[in-house]
């Protein structure tokens, strides 16, 4: 399946003494396979995105009546984006933004403090605690969501966005805390010590010395929390059953289910808008993302 395997065929025949391919031929075949593969997976990944963009800018009547590979100048329009001006969709988008922002704030705040504590204080059972944290990878929204539904309807968190923020923050914890913990370990303690000697309190040292140095980890944690919250469907579907408070994913699916709402032009337009923020992050913060994963898997 892997590319090097594909180049194997010529070298195998070579060792068997059959047709001997020159180094140049093998190299050319290898590069053909390599760039062919790159072209293939790029096409598979990019085509749906292209299709979404093309139809987002196409007149919604044309979208459902005609089929064309390329956009034509007569049908290009921005009208589909008016879906954001009225109806239920804008509310869903705003709710998603609120929930995502809340999740990012909670995740970064809590993981920063916990990561600092774990990196700088010695306490018993710390390793057990870290292992316990990793169990969080095994939390699945559906397993937790079903019981949470009744618990939260009892304590009044059902249909409250803060409830969703709490749930999403919890499932982001294992990654965020581990990343902060490992990252803060790489910051030399001596800087904090000199701040203490200069008379700074621990809180002040944390805020003025440690936090500025953890910026890459903060960005990685925020990105991760963003991805979790922006992506969420299951928790929101279960914990925000009312149409008023729900986020984009359950909201739009319910619209489609109920009213047979299939103005594909509108749907592609709003889909495009929901895709833009993650794409911007992918382009501009690639290094941070990779760094985050590196710290985690190292």
């Amino acid at each position: 399946m892997s590319t090097p395997t594909e180049t194997e065929t010529p070298s195998e025949t070579e060792t068997e003494g059959g047709t001997r391919l020159s180094y140049e031929t093998r190299d050319r075949l290898y590069h053909l396979a390599l760039y062919g593969s790159a072209a293939l997976f790029s096409a598979v990944i990019l085509f749906p995105i292209y299709w979404m963009v093309q139809n987002a800018f196409t007149d919604s009547q044309t979208v459902i009546t005609e089929f064309s590979w390329l956009p034509s100048p007569e049908t290009v329009t921005l009208d589909n984006f008016s879906v954001l001006a009225a109806g239920a969709v804008p509310r869903y988008v705003i709710n998603t933004i609120v929930v995502t922002a809340g999740t990012i704030v909670v995740v970064v705040g809590v993981s920063l403090v916990a990561g600092y504590g774990m990196a700088r204080f010695r306490f018993r059972y710390k390793e057990s605690f870290a292992q316990f944290l990793l169990l969080g990878y095994m939390f699945s929204p559906i397993v937790l969501g079903l019981p949470l539904y009744l618990i939260w309807s009892e304590i009044g968190l059902l249909n409250a966005q803060i409830g969703l923020v709490i749930a999403l923050s919890s499932i982001s914890m294992p990654f965020a805390v581990w990343l902060m913990w490992k990252y803060i370990q790489t910051i030399p303690e001596s800087m904090e010590e000199s701040a203490w000697i200069a008379g700074a309190s621990r809180w002040r040292t944390f805020w003025d010395v440690v936090v500025p140095q953890t910026k890459p980890a903060i960005v990685a944690c925020a990105l991760f929390a963003f991805a979790i919250a922006w992506n969420d469907f299951t928790f929101a579907q279960i914990l925000l059953p009312s149409q008023e408070s729900t986020t984009f994913a359950p909201g739009i699916m319910r619209l489609i289910d109920q009213g047979g709402y299939t103005s594909w032009g509108d749907i592609m337009a709003v889909s495009l808008l929901m895709t833009v923020p993650p794409l911007l992050f992918a382009y501009f913060l690639q290094e941070y993302l990779l760094k985050g994963f590196e710290v985690r898997t190292r």
């Binding site: 790159a38 979404m52 937790l144």
Partner: protein, 314 residues
């Protein structure tokens, strides 16, 4: 909440110099800093699971506050349910299918990206894009592309004779499951890629240079240098993917709601239906407990295969 914790520890600090502090004080601070995390876990994970175990022993009509204690009969009901076993089978199919596709495709993309001399940065961004497109958008675009009237993939498939001109492929018994697996893999293969790529980039170039001088072929270099270094990370990726896919609810529900005729009803879908459509909350919680047991087994394997804490300086 988090800030208060630190502030209170800071005041303690002012009264006593750090060096003079006994382990008790330090341990107290340590626990104080992680207390919010513990609270979150208690609130969102421990309580619900305990509650699910408790509720699974009752008959709970969702809209009615009267619970009837029925002991283990919910479990008996679950285990004798035909739909439970069929959903377990479909879930296994979905899990294995998705994991295999995602591993192969994800590894392939990672290896290609790592070998490219030109356009590497751009293509990495392209690959990451798929992982960052929200699941609901993947679903909406998929529903559009398989639309019977104007869906591009629908038209492609019916032209190739894979399905009829009026057949909604995602609503077709023979196609629904494979398509759900493939649509999910479009996004989640990149998870394996990201995991593997970080590891691949950490392999020093001089290993390959040395091998090249010794006359190793590309395949030999892959087999003897690359593969041993990514096996560990691949194992973790496979385990995590398998666990995540076994518990996948969102993409299946949004694409098919478990249909057609139960063809994509995996265990999470069945549990959701039981709770909110059949109003049988107790039985649904029994299913949640069963899923949790599977998760716990996954977690156990995760720790056996790979001890993550061993790699951190403490």
């Amino acid at each position: 909440m988090a800030n208060e914790t630190v502030e209170s520890t800071a005041t303690t600090d002012r009264r006593s110099v750090r060096g003079r502090l006994g382990l008790d004080g330090e341990a107290l601070w340590g626990w104080a800093t992680v207390a919010p995390v513990i609270l979150l876990y208690l609130f969102v994970a421990v309580t619900p699971i305990a509650f699910a175990i408790y509720a699974s022993l009752f008959e709970v009509p969702l809209l009615n506050p009267d619970w009837t204690f029925t002991g283990l009969s919910n479990y008996v009901e679950v285990l004798t349910m035909n739909s439970f076993w069929s959903s377990l089978w479909l879930g296994a199919l979905f899990m294995v299918g998705s994991t295999v596709v995602q591993l192969l495709v994800g590894l392939w993309i990672a290896l290609v990206l790592n070998q490219l001399d030109r356009g590497q940065r751009f293509l990495t961004a392209v690959a990451f894009t798929a992982y960052l497109v929200p699941t609901v958008i993947v679903v909406l675009v998929a529903l559009f592309m398989f639309d019977v009237e104007v869906g591009v993939l629908h038209i492609a498939g019916s032209t190739l004779g894979l399905w009829g001109e009026r057949t909604f492929a995602l609503g077709d018994q023979t196609w629904a499951m494979s398509l759900v697996v493939l649509i999910g893999s479009w996004k989640f293969s990149i998870f394996v890629t990201i995991f593997t790529l970080a590891q691949l980039r950490a392999i020093p170039d001089r290993f390959y240079e040395a091998a090249k001088i010794c006359g190793a072929s590309r395949w030999e270099m892959f087999r003897d240098i690359t593969l041993p270094r990514i096996t560990g990370v691949l194992l973790i990726a496979v385990l995590l993917r398998a666990v995540f896919m076994f518990n996948k609810f969102d993409i299946i529900w949004m694409l098919t709601e478990g249909g057609p005729a139960g063809a994509t009803t995996t265990l999470p879908i069945l549990a959701y239906r039981t709770a909110f459509l059949h109003n049988d909350y107790g039985v649904a919680n029994a299913m949640a407990v069963v899923m949790f047991v599977f998760l716990a087994i996954g977690a156990y394997c995760y720790f056996r295969a790979f001890d993550p804490t061993a790699e951190v300086d403490t």
